[in-house]
């Protein structure tokens, strides 16, 4: 035990005596470990963010859209698509939307020219949409049953549009859709999986039918909440249930899967950065081997005198290895700290939550030590092989 302490002490004094050289030795494992920690941590943080989104979204959200594989211009779902979807017993809630085309939206007369250039989607929908998407309103209320039945000209706008129109929460506004004035009753918060909703205007199906369609409302998209764990079966069943073998095709999409896929593509990036970190740490290890080999030559007289003083070959080898290990430990710890700092900064900039797996820090340090030991083996063996008689240049 006291021999062990001696080894550690001598390693430290040796390293402290050559500060610049030690600093250079530290850089390799430090940068390598930092790169690995940062890459894993940052992708984990990003994933953590996605996981939060999935959790917020729920895994059981299915999007069913009319598809146009037969070449139809504006594919639509049947008028009673919602009722049909509800016949699937795993379906819990459904909401449908229809996108109304070519509607000019402007907050007030003077701004018409400005907003004509940027098309603003106007969507007809039902009272269930926020509930199905699990989105809340920034202010006001959603289109309710009464709006639908009484055909009141009530509109809800997305939070992005509200910002653009300078609508303050709680402030009543009028917007014009093709010149028809609608009262803004609420502002919808941003919807993670439908970023387009941020800039959209929502009105009731009933009103859409009267003001903009001369036909029955045929939705082109449905959002479906199903029982947890039945996503795959439900999305299959929906296709049949909704089109009943009719001519219109339906594509279904489990929304959480898309996010998980996004997380997976990050994993590939992570692998690349980890490989680069590994490369950095291997190069760092080669640096250690190189510098220590030179050090063995420079310190050959010291090694010789130590051997003469009764330090065995093993002790000399272990002593050099210990220097490498100390470099590995300190480099590893500094690397972990540097990596954590990088994650912290990266996550702060991207607005993610700081996520760092508990195994990362010890793994990083162990990696640094392993590389250092491997790097120290060769110089240590060379140091041990020196003949004291030759290095002391007797006579």
């Amino acid at each position: 035990m006291s021999t062990f302490k001696d080894l550690v002490r001598v390693a430290f004094t040796g390293l402290l005596a050559r500060k610049v050289r030690t600093l250079l030795l530290l850089l390799g494992p430090m940068i390598g470990v930092a790169a690995i920690i940062a890459s894993v941590g940052l992708t984990d943080s990003a994933k953590g963010d996605l996981k939060q989104k999935v959790a917020k979204l729920g895994t059981n959200l299915i999007e069913a859209a009319a598809s146009s594989s037969f070449g139809g211009q504006n594919p639509t779902l049947p008028t009673d698509a919602v009722e049909r979807a509800l016949t699937v017993y795993t379906v819990e809630k459904v909401s449908a939307v229809v996108e109304l085309s070519n509607i000019v939206v402007s907050p007030y007369e003077e701004a018409r020219e400005k907003f004509e250039t940027v098309p603003i989607p106007v969507l007809g929908t039902d009272s269930n949409l926020p509930e199905v998407l699990q989105v809340d309103l920034v202010s006001g209320r959603w289109i309710n049953q009464f709006d639908e039945e009484s055909s009141v000209r009530a509109a809800v706008i997305g939070v992005g549009l509200a910002r653009e129109f300078d609508v303050l929460p709680g402030e009543n506004r009028t917007i014009e859709l093709n010149g028809i004035a609608y009262g803004v009753v609420g502002i919808l918060n941003s919807v993670e999986l439908e970023p387009g909703f941020d800039n959209a205007v929502f009105i009731s199906f009933a009103r859409a039918e009267i003001d903009f369609l001369n036909d029955d409302v045929k939705p082109n998209k449905m959002y479906v909440r199903c029982a947890e764990g039945t996503e795959a079966e439900t999305s299959e069943a929906l296709k049949t249930a909704v089109n009943l073998g009719g001519p219109q095709e339906i594509t279904t999409d489990i929304k959480s899967e898309a996010l998980e896929l996004a997380a997976q593509s990050d994993r590939q990036l992570q692998m690349i950065v980890i490989s680069m970190g590994l490369l950095a740490i291997i190069v760092g290890g080669l640096g250690i081997a190189n510098v220590m080999s030179i050090s063995v030559i420079q310190r050959s007289a010291e090694i010789g005198i130590r051997r003469a003083l009764g330090h065995t070959r093993n002790i000399i080898a272990i002593q050099f290895l210990f220097e490498a290990i100390v470099v590995g430990v300190i480099g590893g710890i500094l690397g972990v700290l540097l990596g954590m700092l990088a994650i912290f900064i990266g996550a702060s900039i991207a607005g993610w939550v700081f996520v760092m797996a508990s195994w990362l820090a010890p793994a990083g340090i162990v990696l640094a030590i392993t590389i250092s030991i491997l790097a120290g083996l060769y110089p240590a063996r060379r140091a041990a092989a020196l003949e004291p008689l030759e290095t002391l240049r007797l006579g």
Binding site: R18, A301, I305, R306, L309, G310, H311, R313, L394
Partner: protein, 225 residues
């Protein structure tokens, strides 16, 4: 310590060089021996063998009751650490350690408590008159002081044999005399002091003089009791 019919050959076949040929020598506790000879006489080889840094091609060497020639490298190293102290012409102090640290180096890896090691190293430094220079690094010390640190380092393990290789070779006359004085004072009933040198005047200040030439001992005379 006893060398019995020792030969040391470097190289093999036609290129073989007989650095030592059939040499026998006994060094006892209390001896103050000088081994003197011109370069190429075999005295350096002799030093290597006496210091257990090297093994002979033929013959046996015993230190105390241990036959060194039979031991493996690690065991031989331990005998060296236990029984032999070295002083070299070039001092060979470790530059980044202070005087005390250099002396302590000889006591490393011996399961000593740091405090005890420090105490013994300090006592050894005081013995050579450098107690107040303990925290000086080699570059801050004169040649004579450096050689005394080296002496303290050699003594701290309480060796049975103190081997000095041209101990005054790098020193001026005054410091040389000082080091020689310390060396002669170090022999005791427990310890022999052996000086290897090419300088006859240094050799003559020893109590016993072993003269070497061409790999053999040509004379072994007692100069004074």
């Amino acid at each position: 310590m006893e060398l019995s019919h020792v030969s040391r050959v470097y190289g093999t076949g036609e290129a073989a060089v007989w650095a030592l040929r059939d040499v026998s020598l006994i060094i006892r506790a209390g001896d103050f021996v000088s081994i003197v000879g011109p370069s190429g006489s075999g005295k350096s080889t002799m030093l290597g063998l006496l210091g257990c840094l090297d093994v002979p091609t033929e013959g046996t060497i015993t230190v105390g009751d241990e036959e060194v020639t039979r031991l493996a490298d690690a065991a031989r190293t331990r005998v060296r650490g236990k029984s032999i102290g070295f002083v070299f012409q070039q001092f060979h102090l470790i530059p980044h350690l202070d005087a005390l640290g250099n002396v302590e180096t000889a006591l490393l890896y011996r399961s000593l408590k740091p405090a005890e090691r420090r105490e013994r190293a300090m006592a050894s430094l005081e013995q050579v008159g450098l107690g107040r220079r303990a925290d000086h690094r080699p570059v801050q010390l004169s040649g004579g002081e450096q050689q005394r640190v080296a002496l303290a380092r050699a003594l701290v393990t309480e060796p049975k044999i103190l081997l000095a290789d041209e101990p005054t070779g790098a020193l001026d006359t005054k410091n040389a005399a000082n080091v020689m004085e310390i060396l002669s004072g170090l022999r005791s009933t427990e310890r022999a002091v052996v000086i290897v040198t090419h300088d006859t005047s240094i050799a003559n200040s020893a109590a016993r003089k072993v003269s070497m030439l061409d790999g053999g001992i040509v004379s072994d005379e007692v100069l004074r009791p």
